[in-house]
């Protein structure tokens, strides 16, 4: 067992025993060796279900919104990327900050399931992970596998702006010394440079595949409207049909609702069963809002809000 897991279990057990929190949300072993799943611990006897390994890809902050009616406090495990989701949810007044206990876990990068699955047998159960620096030795019930980290790391982790959580009431684990590499938006610039025809072709072929499962919305810490416009029984101007036009409207509307609010955790991209690059839309808005209004990535600080919901005299006024 690694040190972080040990720390995590001790902290969780203490919080639950002292009745400081009612529930701890963390990562547990998943159905396959290199998967983890969210676990919801309410008794100190169950803390052994908590784990920390390089496969904890999920963002757990959205559960704060789902569990906001719980009477007690909730402790939630966050990595650097999804720690910004905590502030998204508290800034949006979904749950008060003092009802959340943040268990911050510094993270050097998580490994992609798809990349791992092409390199090893992932169907067994995980026994142990040995971090050897450059490589990982993954010991499973189906044998041991050695993989190079650089070959299986998630793409989003290569451009990570905060390896260490931006907020933590309890930091479990030592700060990682990996240099933060804020996004240079090179990928967005590549898509911006295409001609309108090429852009239309690319994006329409993406929107066409959408099955309107709403997984992107459900996993998003910014999508917390009490009644989502896409759930309305009789929406006024957006249809519920699954066709190209309505799908396009869905994606553009969702992206725009997150303009200046998206914390760039990358969950939408990860959960999409159709592999639609949803994050490219959100990143474009993030880039524009940063350029136009000089904001930092939303959720980086406790105070703040949506730049599109605020007015400053120095805001650009292209529409005058």
């Amino acid at each position: 067992m690694n040190k972080v897991t040990e720390n995590l279990r001790q902290t969780a057990a203490k919080l639950l025993k002292d009745q400081e929190v009612e529930m701890v949300i963390g990562y547990g072993l998943g159905s396959e060796a290199v998967r983890t799943q969210p676990v919801f611990i309410t008794s100190p006897d169950d803390v052994d279900k908590l784990v920390w390994n390089p496969f904890c890809v999920n963002g757990l902050t959205k559960y704060l919104s789902d569990l906001k009616t719980l009477s007690g406090k909730i402790a939630v495990c966050v990595k650097g990327c999804d720690s910004r989701g905590v502030f998204r949810i508290t800034q949006d007044n979904i749950i008060p900050r003092d009802k959340v206990v943040v268990l911050g876990i510094p993270c050097a990068g998580q490994m992609s399931y798809t990349k791992l699955a092409s390199k090893m047998d992932v169907t067994g159960q995980l026994k142990e992970v040995d971090d050897k620096g450059e490589t990982l030795v993954i010991k499973t019930s189906n044998g041991d596998f050695t993989v190079k980290k650089s070959e299986v790391i998630l793409d989003k982790c290569l451009k990570c702006e905060s390896h260490n959580p931006v907020v933590a009431d309890h930091m479990v684990g030592d700060k990682v010394s990996v240099t933060d590499t804020p996004d240079d938006y090179d990928e967005i610039k590549k898509y911006e440079a295409m001609s309108p025809e090429e852009k239309a072709k690319f994006w329409l072929s993406q929107f066409d595949r959408c099955i309107r499962c709403y997984a992107c919305r459900n996993s998003c810490p910014g999508c917390t409207c009490r009644e989502c416009i896409f759930d309305a029984i009789k929406p006024d101007w957006v249809g519920k049909e699954m066709n190209l036009d309505e799908n396009e409207l869905f994606h553009l509307t969702r992206a725009f609702h997150l303009a200046g609010r998206c914390v760039d955790c990358g969950e939408c991209d990860r959960v999409c069963p159709m592999d639609i690059p949803i994050r490219l839309l959100n990143k474009k808005l993030l880039k524009d809002c940063k350029e136009l209004f000089g904001m930092e990535t939303p959720g980086s600080a406790e105070e703040g809000g949506s730049v599109l919901g605020q007015y400053r005299l120095e805001d650009p006024e292209e529409f005058m």
């Binding site: 852009k199 725009f256 808005l285």
Partner: protein, 53 residues
């Protein structure tokens, strides 16, 4: 501003969407903007997206 950039990012032609702040007392500005925009859009041709069958 942000929406205009988003629409152009997903392939709408620049100029098809425009936002202008025009006060009720600025009749000439309103007329000029409308004329300008009508001409620009006529040149672009009909929008092929967001069409109900």
């Amino acid at each position: 501003m942000v929406l205009k950039r988003l629409l152009e990012y997903v392939g709408y032609e620049p100029g098809r969407f425009k936002a202008r702040w025009i006060s009720g007392s600025e009749g000439q500005k309103w007329a000029d903007t409308t004329k300008e925009m009508t001409e620009a859009i006529k040149a672009l041709g009909p929008n092929k997206r967001f069409k109900k069958d």
